[in-house]
Symmetry: C2
Subunit: 309 residues, 2 copies
Amino acid sequence: MTVLALPDRIDIREVGMRDGLQLEEPVPLADKLRMLEAIVATGVRRVEVTSFVSPRAVPALADADEVAKHLDQWPDVAFSALVANTRGAVRAIDAGIADLEYVVSAADSHSRANAGRDTAAASAAIGEIVDLAHDAGGSVEVIVATAWDCPFDGPTPPERTLDVVRAAFGHGADRLCLGDTIGTVTPRRAVELIEAVRAAAPGVEVGAHFHDTRGTGQANALAVLLAGVRQLDASVGGLGGCPFAPGASGNIATEELVYWSEDAGIESGVDLAAVVAAARVTERAVGHDLPSSLFRAGGRSVPLGPYRG
Amino acid sequence: MTVLALPDRIDIREVGMRDGLQLEEPVPLADKLRMLEAIVATGVRRVEVTSFVSPRAVPALADADEVAKHLDQWPDVAFSALVANTRGAVRAIDAGIADLEYVVSAADSHSRANAGRDTAAASAAIGEIVDLAHDAGGSVEVIVATAWDCPFDGPTPPERTLDVVRAAFGHGADRLCLGDTIGTVTPRRAVELIEAVRAAAPGVEVGAHFHDTRGTGQANALAVLLAGVRQLDASVGGLGGCPFAPGASGNIATEELVYWSEDAGIESGVDLAAVVAAARVTERAVGHDLPSSLFRAGGRSVPLGPYRG
């Protein structure tokens, strides 16, 4: 294998509990915990389990405190929570989750719409959140939302993303993640920004968060793995599509990522059959079909209709 | 750009008229021609327009002779037809299509199920079909079906695929294409076989035909472009899913391939907006939703719901 210099292992973070569920109708806590149990059984080592944001804005995750109470039973899994401001960070830490993802939108319009302040103001809060988390023995990953494109402002100038990266780096964030918030990025653009970020923040772990909204999610994942990324977000069943856009895909599907990366000899510690089982539990929890193609098609052996070319 | 050494241009063959339609309910000729007109308007230079196979096995393409009569109006497009045996080749040439795709299944069980003879017998016919096509001023591409996996026999031993490749090469076929018939292949396996084939048939153009059945189709396309492939099959709207498996994806979607390859600076001569328009015509022709995610989601600018991470 000369042309595909892929890593030996990748670090998958399961985000179905947060990004996957956040736009769904609220799922009862018991069903949510069944879903989480199935996710943990896949062997995944990192789970973004909820977010501490306004329950009015995201009613589906209004039970964050309740969810947090159930995590001690899985001491081998690193659970984290997404926060959008200092208040959320305090809530998360009080609830017992000190490993935080703090979102900063690189595009001002998106930042204002989602966090009520522009990118510079959101960036300025990184230090305070890092201090809170570190004091609690935790860590902070800065997720740069709209890292490539904004639904309001169009393509995000790379310098805007790099400004957030430098702020994160300067304020002592532990990790970085670039978010393809609206699922528009493509392999070459993905890699170009990853390379620029790695140059701007040498030595900092940079992950990637893709949505499969336009069918390029797994190709983007492949591309950034070739560019040295080792941490990828994915959601069971590809959950995360907007319920108001039927058929729209959500995050890249964990089972599709595991399927092809396993074939490439990449170890993730995640068991494919267990992810498919977790997708089944998730499908029941949310009460509708999931976007993942692999989940629908199954494994390698499928019955054959008339001639397929 | 160091890690993604992508080509400047790719050669897309639109296969929606053949692989896309073959498992559909028969589409009336007038609708089919409207679909073809929209496909030609995308700028694509190669169109696999039908197949000359048993109308009992593939009723959707029983009008192959009729379709062939309408192609002269587009002299700049290279139309080709798929055949499964010498009789089909004769029919295609009589109908005025001398550029042929001849399918040989690398797996015996699939070959018997679809062509009524084993791989060796199907391979032995290559020479006769090449002679027929060349005598008519045409060309033959050998498509190796089940190049990676067979629904009956499981993984295809690479030597079986290479045997077909050597037979094609030895009998003077003009081009080769590897078919991921059941949509199971993944990037590394895709590239490994492509590299072995290029070694076995030096100088012969090798294309790839992927189905997006398990969400890895565009990742496979990216991988083989990195491995030197320049010819990819794709179908408008991702048409080609089995109608008996709702939601199953068909061929890789032309618009998704154009979307990301255009972003990567790869020229295909195919216009993205025109492919989306053709997908709309195709959706009306077949009377159901198409699998393509990009077709559903649209271009870069989408309205935003609550926070997306």
